[in-house]
């Protein structure tokens, strides 16, 4: 049996998926939490993998992203992200 804490990973775990969805490396991209305003790189956010993916702020635990994939579709909820900074390199 896997405890809840072992289900919590970090943004590194969805780097490949984000690369596929956005066409850019995002694990080093700073994200601002829409709830508390904390700014952290994607890799420093809490990621929960289950039937879908939930990304939470490591400070306030507010939901920042939700991603569900199936039947050839991706459903992406970014409503908890205040902003996302992409490197132009």
């Amino acid at each position: 049996m896997i405890g809840t804490s072992e289900l919590r990973l970090d943004g590194n775990a969805i780097g490949g998926l984000l690369l596929e969805l956005f066409g850019a490396e995002l694990t080093a991209a700073p994200c601002v939490c829409g709830s508390c305003g904390a700014r952290e790189e994607m890799a420093r956010l809490d990621v929960y993998l289950g039937a879908g993916i939930v990304v939470r702020c490591r400070h306030c635990e507010g939901v920042m992203l939700r991603i569900v994939q199936g039947h050839g579709q991706t459903w992406l909820d970014l409503s908890g992200v205040g902003s996302l900074e992409l490197s132009s390199q």
């Binding site: 896997i2 804490s5 072992e6 289900l7 919590r8 990973l9 970090d10 943004g11 590194n12 775990a13 780097g15 490949g16 690369l19 596929e20 066409g23 490396e25 694990t27 080093a28 790189e41 994607m42 890799a43 420093r44 993998l49 490197s87």
Partner: protein, 237 residues
């Protein structure tokens, strides 16, 4: 980003549960030390499963993975027990721009790895040797038993010239063991880690529980949270 064909060019057993696979990926764009890639397997009925694995090799030295078998996993049992020379999988990567160390910074580096969490850290140690970096580097690694220490001879042999390996064995120790013999805690980190005054770069990789414990201990030792880069791996490989 597309999936690339990857053929197993060679493989070797590291421990009974861990195997290193050298992949031949003709279209590989190159990678940085610490990055990972995704492996995708496709069953005959079309079912696909994918998991992330750290790249063990230094940049410019091919694409090597070291995989630990998780018994209820969908991908790791195949990679450890079945994949052999000539077998083909698909890979996507390299992935990650956060948990990386290029070897061009002078600051001291502390690498903390639990079990197979040592894999991306080994890429950094190999990178240090490859580029001739003089940044002081310590690798603190926690393993259950001496038999489960991945890359033990190779990494211990890299020691010297500013690179040091510190072991702790948490479950059992061989006769005459002089290393640590407990889980990584605040006191152990205080003894091993660079002084906070040196503003070290820190990379911690392992299970969520391991990473949280190590990061908490480093914060208590006065480290700034911004110095500590972590990568947690899951229990469903």
């Amino acid at each position: 980003m597309t999936w690339l064909a990857a053929d197993v060019a060679a493989s070797r057993e590291e421990t009974p549960r861990v195997r290193t696979l050298e992949l031949d990926v003709p279209d590989w764009p190159g990678h940085r030390a610490g990055q990972h890639l995704d492996v995708r397997l496709t069953a005959e009925d079309g079912y696909q499963a994918e998991r992330s694995y750290s790249i063990a090799s230094a940049p410019g030295d091919g694409v090597t993975l070291t995989v630990e078998r998780l018994d209820d996993g969908e991908v790791s049992p195949y990679l450890v027990d079945e994949a052999r020379e000539g077998d083909r999988v698909e890979v996507r990567g390299p992935i990650g721009g956060y948990f990386v160390w290029d070897g061009d910074e002078p600051e001291p580096v502390l690498l903390v790895g639990g079990g197979s969490g040592v894999v991306p850290l080994a890429a950094m140690a190999r990178q240090r040797a490859r580029v001739g970096s003089t940044a002081p580097m310590k690798l603190l690694r926690s393993s259950r038993t001496i038999e489960e220490v991945i890359y033990r001879e190779e990494l211990d042999a890299l020691a010297g010239g500013g690179f040091e390996v510190v072991h702790t064995l948490t479950r059992s120790q061989p006769p005459g063991w002089t290393g640590y013999s407990r889980r990584i805690d605040r006191e152990l980190l205080a003894e091993v880690a660079w002084p906070a005054s040196e503003s070290p770069r820190v990379y911690v990789c392992g299970s969520t529980r391991f990473v949280d414990a190590a990061a908490d201990g480093l914060l208590q030792a006065g480290y700034d949270a911004r110095w500590i880069r972590t990568e947690r791996f899951g229990a469903t490989g």
